[in-house]
Symmetry: C2
Subunit: 287 residues, 2 copies
């Protein structure tokens, strides 16, 4: 089988697969790249994961994910910052182990309101502070930090960064090679400003990753798991993908789906379906 | 009992109450105003509803709700536009029946994507078209149309207007006395631009209604019913209410809650709890 040459399977789409199983599923479906997640890499140990990725011949498109740095100063915040530094190092090594075209991009999810706090502005300020602390570390490691705006329904419990414009504002003080943004259709398709902000992200050189999956209602009981194969929902991938292309993004396009039914399916079947859905719904809009 | 002098109970908070029961619940709790809904008014007939509101001595703060005009041209769209005209007439008459200080404000929910459409931009364009058609009718009736941005989790199935900025852009071509916006904390508190857009709404004279209720996670299985009494969730009513006040809004502040548990409680108890929660969480931020 062969899939689109720019398709990457984000490992969250086969959440319960080991790294070996995820790589095999990609190979069986002809998918040339994987977006790795930290847990399955750590389950193996970094050295073994590097070896396995190198042997696979696959590219690495991103490493997911770090962030979660909205806590106020203190022991827990320090632990989070240190963990982000570990993730930066992982990202550099994993990407170096991947096939040519691999990209050392670490996806960052900001984190929600800590404890009983109602202070969104304060939490957002602490994201900016964390980036200031981590950017030099990422620069030294040759890693791009990719701030991911998450859908506003996750604003209080998962990510206080809710729009691409806000992510770009947070990235603005830094070198675009060091701090960029993740453009994920699911999270930002609703935004009346989305095309204008993708254009801006392109002008500013900040599209570090393009991720796709679909939106469909009614949302399931756990709204975190409300993501679908491309084409199974109501997102129009045409204008969004065209805008990302026009903005100059030439990297892999990741399919990242959180969905209990998809997680329960055999990994190879999920990878195959991912490739087919991507070919139908997204690939026609790629150059 | 007495409640804050600017508190209004939106009738959706006691969804299963008749108009008479809703008015009684307000009176028992000392709440001086009601935001009416169309269905209980229509259950009685407009003339009887007018009489009942006049007898109550309560103010009317808004009439809820019309809109739902994202359909493409055709019979169903015409029916929706005609229904909006009926709602405009209802609004004028209901407000005239209310005590001094009543406001003829019709809340508009835009509607979602029609049928199998994926065309958000097209649907948004049809909202603009509908406003153009309805604004002269509203102007003749002395009614303000209050476009309500809804949380982006409702964008495809309920309201393609998702931010206050977008609502203000839609309102911009019209006289602010005729087309304004509803500022509802639940729907827009997450927006990094929210305070700036409230300031803009004030400068442009477009705050037609201020509604409050709270946000809490996890969201319930039906995300439409995820609203809570003020203070029971994580919204910081201070900065939002201060911004609305500073923007020059002097009208009633409505509590509008969709919540199955609250709907199942006795109306008088809900009204009392609404007044108490409002006094604690919102009133301190009012001038």
């Amino acid at each position: 089988m062969s899939a689109h040459p720019r398709l990457s399977l984000n490992q969250a789409t086969v959440k319960r697969a080991s790294l070996a199983e995820a790589l095999e599923a990609c190979q069986a479906a002809g998918i040339p790249a994987l977006g790795t997640w930290r847990e399955p890499v750590q389950d193996l140990g970094l050295a073994e994961a590097e070896r396995m990725i190198a042997d696979s011949g696959l590219r690495v498109s991103t490493h997911c994910r770090a962030g979660f740095f909205t806590l106020p100063e203190g022991e827990q915040r320090r632990a989070s910052i240190e963990d982000n530094k570990v993730a930066i190092e992982e990202t550099a090594r994993i990407a170096a182990a991947g096939a040519p075209g691999s990209r050392a991009v670490l996806v960052l999810v900001a984190g929600g309101l800590p404890g009983d706090s109602r202070d969104l502005a304060g939490a957002r300020g602490r994201v900016a502070d964390a980036l200031e602390e981590l950017a030099p570390v990422a620069a030294d490691a040759g890693v791009t930090l990719a701030i991911e705006p998450l859908h506003p329904m996750y604003v209080t419990d998962r990510a206080v960064v809710s729009t691409l414009g806000q992510a770009l504002d947070l990235a603005a003080p830094f070198d675009p090679a060091v701090v960029g943004a993740t453009v994920d259709t699911f999270h930002i398709f609703w935004d009346p400003e989305v095309v204008a902000q993708i254009e801006r992200a392109g002008r500013e050189g900040r599209i570090a990753s393009y991720q796709v999956c679909d939106w469909k209602t009614p949302l399931p009981a756990d709204v975190l798991l409300s993501r679908h194969h491309t084409g199974d929902g109501v997102i129009d991938f045409g204008p969004l993908t065209a805008a990302v292309e026009a903005a100059g993004y030439t990297g892999d396009v990741e399919v990242e789906i959180f969905n209990e039914d998809i997680w329960a399916a055999p990994y190879a079947a999920v990878a195959r379906r991912t490739a087919e859905a991507f070919s139908a719904a997204v690939a026609p809009h790629l150059a």
